[in-house]
Every structure is written in C-alpha cells, then in structure tokens.
C-alpha cells in the first residue's frame, strides 16, 4: 500500500459545539437572574453563563454570550437591560483571558477573578447608570444612590459607591458557581468547545 497521508485536523473558525454553548450560556445568565430574583437575593447573578462560556470556549464566545444575554433580556424582560450589554461583554472578554492564563484552576484564584470582574463591572456600569438612567434603574441600589445624591455626591460617584456593595458579592459568587459548573462538566466534553 502506498503510504497514507498524515491525518490533518483542520480547525478554522468556531466549532459547532462552541456556537451551541451560546444559547445554553445565555439561558444560564437569564435563568440565574430569574432564580436570584425569585429568591429575593440582593445580587443579580446574571453573568454566571458569561463566565462559564468564557472559561469553556474563550473570550469571544464569552463576549457574544454577554451581548446576547442583555439584548434578549432587554426584549423579553425590560429594556433597562440593553444598555448594560457592554458590561456583560467586557466580563466575557476579561474572564476569557483570565481563564486562558489559568486563573480559574483553583477556588482561591477564582475568587481573585471574581474581584477583578467586580472592579471592572463597577467602573464600566457606573457611567451607564449615571448618564443613561440618571441614577435610577428600578433596583434596590436606587435608594443608596438617591441618598448619596442628596448628600451632594454626583450621580457617577453615587453609582460607583452603591455598586461597591453588591458587585463584589455578585461577581465572586458568579465566578465560583461558574467554576463549579465547569468542574461538573465531564472531561470528555470539555475540550470540544475550543
């Protein structure tokens, strides 16, 4: 027999599994938020899917998940979500790059990632809250922001301060849950997303 050519695995673009992860991850984001609201928790928990997708399939899929989550939630729930899409996208990108550098391998490192995401979340979302919404979004933090505004702080400062309480809690929990989810995915499925 003539010698056979080396089998080549040609992989360009984004794999089917990675594409399919997107609806599931968006679902995790939205359902995660729905459960948090049903349980009346003080945190949004709307980025668990973004972080999970970012860990499994990289920053760009994570970013897409973030974008779609807010777009669709904006359509199905209330348009308030739309303008925060950029925040969720940034989470996907940052989490993806952190995951590539191995920062999601242990719980302590995951907590650090959660803090990083929290800080970024505060910085990116505060201008949106202050300038698009005039500091009012219908969430519980409105009271904190109103109080700070009344005592002379600008809307921007109020937004950052108010989120300083909920964001770290939200992002650390989200990062840990994402970590647990990824750990729960059987090994044989895990490599198929890249």
């Amino acid at each position: 027999m003539a010698q056979t050519a080396q089998p080549r695995v040609v992989k360009s673009g984004i794999g089917t599994m990675a594409w399919l992860l997107v609806p599931v991850a968006v679902g995790i984001n939205l359902v995660g938020n729905f459960i948090a609201v049903s349980l009346k928790l003080p945190v949004f928990l709307d980025s668990i899917g973004t972080v999970t997708a970012a860990i499994l399939a990289g920053p760009w899929i994570g970013a897409l998940v973030g974008l779609l989550t807010n777009l669709i939630a904006g359509l199905l729930i209330t348009p308030t979500w739309l303008w925060y899409a950029v925040v969720n996208v940034v989470f996907g990108i940052v989490a993806g790059f952190l995951a590539r550098k191995g920062w999601y391998s242990t719980i302590p490192k995951t907590i650090v990632c959660g803090l990083i995401l929290a800080v970024i979340g505060m910085i990116v979302s505060a201008p949106i809250t202050a300038y698009v919404y005039g500091g009012v979004t219908g969430a519980g933090e409105d009271f904190i922001r109103a109080y700070l505004y009344a005592t002379g702080k600008t809307l921007l400062e109020g937004a950052i301060t108010a989120s300083a309480i909920t964001e770290p809690l939200d992002k650390i929990i989200s990062a840990i849950i994402a970590f647990l989810i990824v750990k729960g995915v059987p090994q044989r499925y895990r490599g198929q997303f890249k």
Binding site: P23, V24, L75, G134, I173, Y189
Partner: protein, 263 residues
C-alpha cells in the same frame, strides 16, 4: 411563531416594511435621542413613535409595554431629581422640610422624556418586527449564517429554560428546599436550583451538535430562503438617508460640544 416575544401581528404598512428598515430607523431614533440637547427633540421623537404606532395599530400594546417598563423609573427620576438636583435655586413647592426645585424638575423632564423616547422606539420595533425575519434579512446582507442561527436559537431556548427553572424551583420546594427565611438560607437554595438545569443542558449539547451537523450546519453550500422578504428601492434609499442624516447630526453635535469646550 414564538409566543413570548412581543411581536404582534397586524396588517399594516409598518409591519410590511423590511425589518432592516425598521432596525435602522430604530437605531437612528436612539442615537438622536442620545445626541440631542433639548426637550423638544425628545418629545418630537416620542411623538413620531406614537404616530407610527397608531399607523401600525399597536398603540394599546405600545402604551402598556412602555408603562410596564418605564413608569417606575420615570416616577423615581422625577422624585430624586426634583428633590436633590445640585445647584438648584428656584423652588417650586415647599412642604415642610421638603422642597421641590424647578431646575430638578426640568432635568427630570429631559432625562425622563429621553428614556421614554428610547423605550418607546424599542417597544415599537419589537412589536412590528419578527425576529426570524430580521435575522434572515441580516444573513442575506452578509451576517454570518451561524451567528444568525445561534441568535435565533437562543431566543427560542430561553422561554424553555425559564419554564424548566420554574418547574425545578417548585420541585425542589416540594422536596423541602427552604426558599424563604434568612439570607444565608436563601443563598443556599440557589445551587440546588440552578445545578440540575445547567448540567443537563451542557451534556445535551453534544447531541444537539450532531443533530444540526447532520442538517448541514457547517456546510459551505449556498442557501436559498423559503420565504423571500420584500425590500424596495425606496426603503433602501430611506435607510441610507436616515443613517446619513443621523451621522451628520451626531457629528454636528460633537463639533459644537468640542468648540464649546475650547471657547
């Protein structure tokens, strides 16, 4: 037909417009709302959206949805700004220790009308456009087919997942999961609810992937649409005109803003 998107079918000229046209006009309205400095512009945009809603015969739906999303925020904006707007000097009312300032109300009217204009435009767009048509048109105009498919699939899976989540919530409750009570207890209830949902969904991904591959998901051959969506030269020109006018408006606003900084 997706029962949970707001799309409401009517036989109206607006519904018959190409989805891209509606999309571009929607984006233009939102951009102008952000760039414009005056209350008058916001109110005219809002007025234009309402007129379009009347033509599309979805006025009642529009009002209901807009109120549902925006009423609380608008009220809060008026309250917060009316009471606390910095640098206010002209008092409108004083009731005991509480004063409502004219400058605050003016700022609140401006912010609230902008919010209303944007939300109304969003709702109108959603009421008159089918998601499948919009994605189909975007794919025909160059959007990656896989991306479009994934967006559509996401919109379809979400209601399913929400229904399952509600079912899991009830099921776990009936098995004794504590969902009320202290904060820690409620936090503890979170993972048993989201866990079953997530793990099952991810594992089923492989089956789904095989299924759509078998239906030619990755095939590079050209596709032909079953339903052609109407587009006319008039609409194409209208889209370009709207985009160019909006872009010019934004540029003009940027220039005036920058020059006011220099002065």
């Amino acid at each position: 037909m997706n029962p949970t998107t707001p799309y409401t079918h009517r036989d109206s000229p607006i519904h018959r417009l190409n989805p891209l046209t509606k999309g571009i006009f929607f984006l233009c309205v939102v951009t102008v709302a952000f760039a414009a400095p005056s209350l008058g512009v916001m109110l005219s945009l809002l007025g234009a959206v309402v007129v379009a809603a009347v033509i599309a015969r979805v006025t009642r739906n529009l009002v209901a949805l807009v109120l549902k999303s925006a009423l609380l925020i608008v009220v809060l904006v008026f309250v917060v700004q009316g009471l606390f707007y910095p640098g206010s000097k002209a008092a409108l009312w004083t009731i005991g220790p509480v004063t409502i300032w004219r400058e605050g109300l003016r700022f609140a009217s401006f912010t609230a009308s902008r919010l209303l204009a944007i939300i109304a435009a969003t709702v109108l767009f959603m009421l008159t456009t089918r998601a499948e048509d919009l994605v189909s048109e975007m794919i025909a105009h160059g959007l990656s087919r896989k991306l479009g498919y994934v967006v559509l699939m996401t919109m379809q899976t979400i209601p399913q997942m929400q229904a399952r989540a509600a079912a899991i919530l009830d099921a776990q409750r009936s098995r004794g999961l504590e969902t009320e009570g202290g904060l820690i207890q409620r936090f503890r209830a979170y993972v048993p609810i989201i866990g079953p949902l997530v793990v099952g969904s991810i594992i089923s991904l492989e089956t789904r992937s095989l299924a759509i591959e078998a239906r030619g998901f990755s095939s590079p051959t050209r596709r032909v649409r079953v339903e052609e969506i109407r587009d006319s030269r008039g609409e194409q020109m209208a889209r370009w005109a709207a985009a160019i006018m909006t872009a010019s408006f934004v540029v003009w606003r940027l220039v005036s803003w920058i020059s006011s900084l220099i002065r």
